[in-house]
């Protein structure tokens, strides 16, 4: 049979089995690590997918009305229209307290659900009675709840009229009550239902939706519809179905007819009608026009004043040529003020944009006309249905949401109310009214139709209003979930990165093993060469051989990879939980990661082989021989001061210049490292001069052979220590205003929004913060639009993180926080100032943490994040700055004004950055915790908030260190076995030593001493240079893991000693004697 190269390679492989097994073992480890890492990435994705799918249950699509509510019957109507199964629910936030032990869980989700919700998910749970709730296991575990226990729930109640809307009555829509737990439901039973994208298990309460209503509505409201979609409908198809079934009543709009004018008008249960709806309706129904009726605080003229009257801004009924500063007043008002045409009266009102700040504005108007009793628009129905006003029997019983001076109300005012209710006393042009009272909630209090009756109008509107204008959006949960688990943190690549040292060790060992292997076969290869095999053919033979070895190793590694995956996943669920914030990961298997790891390992092995072979064959064909080389001329003792003195100088400077100490010390450490290597080289090169050490001559002839393992050891130790010293801890810098805490003392967050401005006297008085001890306390307050946490604590991909609306001027004035990146070519140098700008319609600026931008959102400064504003309009948020690591991690910051414009229904502030007297921080914390208990407040020092984000990074560093140590140990062990092979090739030398009178024991002792010296040089070089590099971090309080560091040095030294001991003991006397005899 002809000798084919493959056959020759197979025969060679079986002959050199021991060497091949060693190489295969290295490839096995290499493959196992890559395969284990990739399988871990797959396991995390599978677990995350399972987690997200369990949370969304049977829901494939989500119809959300955002911050608004709709008629819950819409879900049934949708099913009727589309045959898609649907269930409505109300999602709101709040807090939950165990009535028995007082334990409280903040940031819980409360779902108002009917029995249809459980049926939708295929669960055998009937609907909930009023006063009873179901909680999920996670919440029950957190605050020790059992079936039958009572809980106190605080929540944002369902009321279509936001409490911060102009003239909304009383306090915000904070609801609370005591409820009895009728059951605890497991995750598998839908207990972990969530519409968010996060691996964390939610705290859920399921409640009868009627218990969430705070306005006594006639029909059930909801803000979400879950849709099961077996036919793969698109979002736009579902939106079309929704449009077809949507009637005004579903979104809180109603049409009534004015008894006085006979006109039909559209009004909203939100009082103000959103601009998008006004536009839509006026487009759909020709001859319709918006109307704005507002409450004036007073009409004043010549010392006479009429208090608390309504005034309407009309477009249709007003003369065409009415000026903006002209007003038509009723004869009643003219009489009361003794005013007539041409007179100027002053009008005052509470600014609608001021929220609860009660800023009063005013304007002067020239009376154009006094309207007689026959004036068509002396119409009581023009007054909006203000909940605290319209049902009142007297003016003095109004609850207008603003403080009214009841002393000013006269008997004639009460009589007017009794006779005419809210009939406006004055009229201005709509244009002027819009200018004065147009607000974020809308530009109209009604839309009047000049033609058409009630039914015709409703018919025209039904099926023609685009759902998006009412805030509806349709999300494909399947797509969103897929994005969340597939575009989230890639743990596969992460663990490959964290296992860098192990992989590097494997590559280095494989390279060295191959070199030894090829060197030991030099004779064979010379034979091939001499009998006419060309380089390509020799290379092919060796590649076949190493390929077979690599494949065998890779197959074994692929099997072991699953074990590595199992270990990593279990570690992530327990000791490394800081990296994933969940213990629900499960190991999973897939062919693709295994095949990828297999291919990668084989390719790496082949690349190493090719590189090695290239040099080997080049040397061989050029006839070069292994010769010892004298040290280069420049490498002498004289060079050492040139390296060590600057290193010491840099270290000295690092002690003097604290601001640059890290960079200086690191440079000093690197120079020390660079200096110790030639020192070691010269030390080994000089060993031949010492008498009586025959073994030392070897390394004096080949000092590079000693330096290579020294570099490996030293570089490994250096890198592991440097990495360990990078553990993130709170430093003094972070407490400064320019640091990550912004100089704030506390970070507080409430489950329910707080409507008052806590910096105002009224706000402080409301919560008892006016006491002397709290005189220095100040707040930076932020409104919050819920979203999925985009901080490093969430491993799922998040496209739209929670938005905070803050006052950027306060932050900019304080000089709080620092930017890592900012928008180029921006006119303003400070990104904070951009938050008040509106570059275009529906375009605003935003700021986020740079790490969140880069890793979480995968965006950069200048990119745009797409949001949908409350009224369904697309909102483009252009990132104008990336903050250095800050307490805002996970959030997107926009200006307060922009927030209120685009999300007006958010009723107050939920995030508070607290500053004041640092010594009083504990008192602040206790006081706020106490005073805002009803809002579900959590207060923590700002530095602790910042530090909570470090847990992820620090866990990764810990993993990297552990993997690094494992890699080092593996490398040291591998070097030891390499030494075995080296001793094997030096048998002749040892045999001659025996012949010269050395005993085997002495040879072993000398070899052990030489190699321990190499080990010590490596450990010393790495430790000393790393210690020098990291001393500023250590001195600055870096929580370097000393235990792990000492364990590393101990394990490396111990492993090194054991493998050296084993290696030198492999030198066998009989073997050497027989070799001597043979020679």
């Amino acid at each position: 049979m002809k000798l084919k190269p493959f056959i020759i390679a197979l025969k060679s492989l079986s002959f050199h089995l021991r060497d091949s097994l060693y190489q295969a073992a290295i490839v096995t480890v290499l493959t196992a690590i890559i395969c284990g890492s990739l399988l871990t990435g797959h396991s995390v994705r599978v677990s995350l997918r399972r987690n997200l799918e369990e949370k969304t249950g049977s829901a494939d699509l989500l119809i959300s009305s955002g911050l608004r509510y709709f008629n819950a019957s819409l879900a049934g109507n949708l099913t009727g229209k589309s045959s898609l199964r649907a269930a409505a629910l109300t999602e709101t936030g709040g807090y939950c307290t165990n009535y028995n032990n007082g334990e409280t869980a903040l940031d819980i989700k409360i779902y108002g659900v009917e029995s249809s919700f459980f049926t939708f998910h295929g669960l055998q749970i009937s609907g909930l009675d009023k006063g009873s709730v179901l909680v999920n296991e996670n919440l029950a575990r957190k605050i020790n709840l059992n079936q039958g226990d009572e809980i106190i729930l605080g929540f944002s109640g369902i009321d279509p009229l936001p409490s911060n809307a102009p003239f909304a009555p009383g306090e915000n829509d904070k609801g609370s009550g005591v409820f009895r737990i009728t059951g605890i439901i497991r995750g598998s039973e839908g207990g972990n239902f969530s519409l968010g994208s996060s691996q964390s298990q939610p705290y859920n309460v399921f409640i009868n939706p009627a218990d969430l209503e705070t306005d006594g509505a006639l029909h059930a409201r909801a803000n979400r519809i879950l849709v099961e979609d077996d036919v793969h409908s698109t979002g736009s198809q579902v939106n079309d179905y929704l449009k077809q079934i949507l009637i005004p009543e579903d979104i809180g709009l109603s049409v009534r007819v004015s008894e006085r004018t006979g006109e039909a008008e559209l009004i909203s249960d939100r009082i103000f009608i959103d601009s998008a709806i006004v536009r839509a309706v006026t487009d759909i129904v020709p001859g319709s026009a918006p109307v704005m009726t507002y409450l004036a605080n007073s009409f004043d003229i010549n010392g006479k004043s009429t208090p608390y009257s309504f005034i309407s801004a009309l477009s249709e009924a007003m003369p065409d040529d009415i000026e903006d500063d002209e007003i038509i007043i009723s004869s009643w008002l003219a009489e009361d003020l003794d005013a007539g045409p041409g007179d100027t009266l002053r009008l005052t009102w509470f600014d609608p944009g001021g929220g609860k700040s009660l800023k009063e504005s005013g304007a002067a108007f020239r009376i154009r006309q006094v309207a007689g009793a026959d004036f068509r628009y002396l119409d009581p129905s023009l007054m909006p249905e203000f909940p605290g006003i319209s049902g009142s029997t007297t003016c003095s019983s109004w609850d207008a949401g603003v403080p009214l001076d009841m002393k000013r109300i006269r008997k004639k005012d009460e009589d007017y109310w009794t006779d005419y209710k809210g009939t406006p006393k004055a009229f201005i042009s709509y244009r002027s009214g819009l200018k004065l009272w147009g607000n974020n909630f809308g530009p109209a209090t009604a839309i009047r139709f000049s033609t058409g009756d009630q039914e015709t109008i409703i018919e025209k509107l039904a099926g023609n209003i685009d759902p998006s204008v009412a805030g509806f959006s349709v999300t494909d949960l399947r797509v969103r979930n897929k994005n969340a688990y597939s575009r989230g943190v890639d743990f596969g690549m992460l663990f490959i990165g964290l296992s860098f040292f192990i992989l590097l060790s494997c590559v280095v060992l494989l390279s060295m093993a191959l070199k030894l292997f090829l060197d030991s076969r030099k004779g064979e290869i010379r034979t091939y060469y001499s009998i006419g095999f060309n380089n390509a053919k020799i290379k092919r033979l060796l590649i076949y051989e190493t390929l077979l070895t690599a494949i065998a190793g890779a197959i074994a590694g692929s099997v072991l990879g699953y074990l590595v995956n199992y270990l990593i996943v279990n570690a992530l669920n327990s000791v490394w939980i800081g990296a994933v914030q969940t213990d629900t990961l499960a190991p999973a298997f897939s062919v693709l990661p295994v095949a990828s790891a297999f291919s990668a390992a084989v390719i790496i092995a082949i690349l190493v082989v090719l590189i090695r072979l290239r040099y080997f064959l080049k040397d061989l064909s050029h006839g070069s021989r292994e010769i010892f080389r004298n040290a280069p001329a420049w490498l002498s003792l004289k060079i050492l001061p040139l390296v060590f003195l600057p290193a010491l100088a840099l270290l000295l400077l690092s002690a003097l210049f604290r601001d640059s100490s890290t960079a200086l010390a690191f440079s000093g450490g690197i120079l020390l490292f660079a200096g110790m290597l030639p020192a070691a080289y010269l030390s080994f090169a000089a060993r031949s001069k010492k008498p009586g050490n025959q073994s030392g001559i070897y390394y004096s002839r080949y000092p590079l052979k000693a330096i290579t393992p020294i570099i490996f050891l030293a570089a490994g130790i250096f890198a592991v220590v440097i990495t360990g010293a990078n553990r993130q801890v709170i430093t003094g810098k972070m407490l400064l205003r320019s640091g990550g805490t912004g100089g704030f003392l506390l970070w507080a967050e409430t489950a329910l929004p707080v409507g008052q401005d806590l910096n105002s006297n009224r706000g402080k008085a409301e919560f008892g913060l006016e006491v002397e001890d709290l005189k220095d306390i100040t707040f930076v307050q932020a409104r919050k639009l819920s979203g999925d946490d985009a901080s490093c604590l969430n491993i799922a991909y998040v496209a739209a993180p929670p938005v905070l609306g803050i006052d950027p001027a306060t932050i900019a004035e304080r000089g709080s926080f620092s930017f890592a990146t900012s928008l180029r070519n921006a006119k303003a140098t400070n990104p904070w100032s951009l938050l008040n700008e509106n570059p275009d319609e529906n375009v605003i600026y935003g700021i986020a943490d740079q790490t969140v931008l880069q890793w979480g959102l995968k965006k950069k400064t200048g990119d745009t994040l797409k949001y949908v504003s409350e009224n369904g309009q697309l909102l483009n948020i252009v990132i104008c700055g990336g903050l250095k690591s800050s307490v805002f991690q996970g959030h997107l910051l926009i200006g307060k004004q922009a927030f209120e414009k685009h999300f007006p229904s958010v009723e107050g502030n939920s995030v508070f950055l607290v500053d004041g007297n640092r010594d009083m921080a504990d008192l602040y914390r206790e006081t706020l915790t106490d005073r805002f208990a009803g809002y579900g407040i959590s207060v923590e020092p700002a530095y602790e908030k910042l530090a909570s984000f470090f847990s992820v990074t620090n866990t990764y560093l810990e993993v990297f260190m552990m993997m690094g140590i494992f890699g080092m140990i593996l490398g040291v062990a591998g070097l030891g076995f390499m030494l075995l092979r080296n001793f094997n090739s030096r048998k002749r030398e040892f045999a001659f030593m025996i012949a010269s009178g050395y005993t085997v024991k002495r040879i072993r002792k000398l070899l052990l001493r030489d190699h321990i010296l190499i080990l010590l040089w490596g450990v010393l070089t790495g430790t000393v240079s790393a210690a020098a590099s990291t001393w500023p971090s250590v001195a600055g309080g870096s929580s370097i893991s000393w235990g792990m560091f000492i364990a590393m040095l101990f394990l490396i030294s111990l492993t090194g000693y054991i493998v050296l001991h084993v290696s030198v003991n492999s030198i066998d006397r009989k073997d050497l004697i027989s070799r001597l005899r043979a020679d």
């Binding site: 000798l3 020759i8 060679s12 034979t527 001499s530 006419g532 095999f533 060309n534 390509a536």
Partner: protein, 221 residues
């Protein structure tokens, strides 16, 4: 057939090894080269066999410079024209004796017919050198003298024009050295293969028609 012109070769550690060396060799000639250790004998053999390159000068084989050859042409030159016999037999330990012998036939693609021809030629040579019964043995199962004869057969399998033997009897006892020396001379005489032998052995050198001593980098007759 072979002409070496002004060959010079030096090594950094050893200095000048060959200096302006010239050599002429005709078809079927046999040359013995002797000289002290380190005088450059092996270097000279490696240069002739295209295993090494001189610093200057030229090596002409049948009037073509082997120094101008590409690596592949060089390999083909060794495979087709040169047979090497080293002091250490350098047999591949994982191949049997017959596989080792036929290995040069696998260096380039040949037809099955050619391969069978080489197999029968190998059988004849093995018969002639007295190693027929070693055919299926591995190199570690045969003696040094037998291994050296296997090497000789392997060197002859492609019917080379020239045999380069570097200390072929250096590691053999006198009996085996005698057998191998006779075989080399016989092959030179019977097969007409040119032979260059580097040796310390006066007995082996005496079997060659021309004898040179390599001194100070030059060949002295």
């Amino acid at each position: 057939m072979l002409r070496l012109e002004n060959i010079t070769k030096s090594y950094p550690q050893r200095g000048m090894v060959l200096s302006e060396l010239n050599l002429m060799m005709g078809e079927g000639d046999s040359i013995a080269i002797t000289g002290p250790s380190g005088s450059g004998k092996t270097t000279l053999m490696n240069i002739i066999g295209a295993l090494d390159r001189p610093d200057s000068g030229d090596v002409l084989f049948r009037d073509s410079s082997i120094l101008q050859m590409s690596p592949d042409e060089s390999a083909r030159y060794r495979n087709r024209n040169i047979g090497f016999v080293f002091q250490d037999h350098l047999l591949l330990p994982h191949l049997t004796v017959s596989e080792n012998i036929l290995l040069p036939a696998s260096a380039f693609n040949i037809t099955t017919e050619e391969y069978h021809e080489k197999m029968s030629y190998a059988g004849m040579l093995m018969e002639k050198t007295g190693i027929s019964d070693l055919r299926d043995k591995y190199p570690y199962n045969i003696s040094g003298g037998e291994a050296q004869r296997v090497t000789l057969v392997r060197a002859l399998i492609n019917k080379p024009s020239m045999l380069l033997a570097d200390e072929p009897t250096g590691s053999l006892d006198s009996r085996n050295a005698g057998i191998l020396g006779s075989l080399l001379a016989e092959i030179n005489n019977e097969l007409g293969i040119s032979l260059i032998v580097v040796t310390h052995s006066g007995s082996l050198a005496s079997k060659m028609r021309v004898r040179y001593t390599l001194e100070e980098g030059r060949l002295i007759r």
